[in-house]
Symmetry: C2
Amino acid sequence: MSLRHALLGLLSERPASGYDLLKRFETSLANAWPATQSQMYTELSKLADNGLISVSTQGPRGRKEYALTDEGLAELRHWLTEIKPQRHTRSDILLRVFFLNVITPDQARSYLTELMELSEQEHEALRRLADSIDWGDDPLSVNGKIALEYGLRFNTMRRKWAAWAADQIR
Amino acid sequence: MSLRHALLGLLSERPASGYDLLKRFETSLANAWPATQSQMYTELSKLADNGLISVSTQGPRGRKEYALTDEGLAELRHWLTEIKPQRHTRSDILLRVFFLNVITPDQARSYLTELMELSEQEHEALRRLADSIDWGDDPLSVNGKIALEYGLRFNTMRRKWAAWAADQIR
DNA sequence: TTTCGACATGTCAAAACAGGAACGTCAGCA
DNA sequence: TGCTGACGTTCCTGTTTTGACATGTCGAAA
């Protein structure tokens, strides 16, 4: 249900086509809310039907640029301020931990070691991403930095936890 | 897709009915993989159809106790060792952060403050849960402790991050 | 001029997810 | 005896998500 708000949010920056949004997703929101191409086009149609966005420009190749309407902005603000965030937290990574006793201690340790490496890699990827962006003082950069910092801290936490956990398994 | 494995995992401990599994979910796996009642019964039927579990006992009130079959155990082990975990990480909490510039700084700070409180509450809830369980040295307890420790560390990380983030917003 | 990669959208079927209504049973207790 | 609360399953409706397939356009380079 949040995909709709993710799209509204991206469009609040500037008008964009489905294709544009797809690209921007990959480099920013994908970490918070993965979505596929088909989902996005479907959702854009629905949003347009409901009057939360509207086609602002038609370009070549059937390109349709959408812009946020007043109702769309109102809905976005409403979501940001009124709707209580709810933890979804589906994590197949954590889920496996509950059943590590089903495999051998060696296999379990190996799983946790891989998690350490995964966390390290993701941390590294985020660090590189941060380096590749020239941050300004604009509000958008502040948001981006905050979200990115979350990723960094999360991966650090997970790496240390996995190391600790591997040590718990005798 | 992991719900199936969550059920296999729970059944690897001991046979149980849908109702039992529902209860056990609430007190353990719900943090890693929330699922509703209808989903679970549907999945149990499918697992039985596929021969990964089987009805071991019929009890009163139409109670059907399922037990893991050899194929089920094999599938569980396969999932634990061969299938690469993939980060899903859908988080409407993090998603909102990208769009905090759409609302006023006061509102944004207020959002982050609420996150701090939420993290604190969840941390506290987990701590209480930990106290309420009498941990043994058995493998299951080890797993449970590891998963719980993850929750504690995660909430601590998130609380500190939210505090830091609130401070970033001028 | 052909070809190729990036641009750009749309449709479909299947699975997963959510929430609840509907139905019935059993044990204990007032 | 009748009530209540816990036990226990099934079905239904609707939305969300996934992944694949289908279709076509444009610009640039070979």
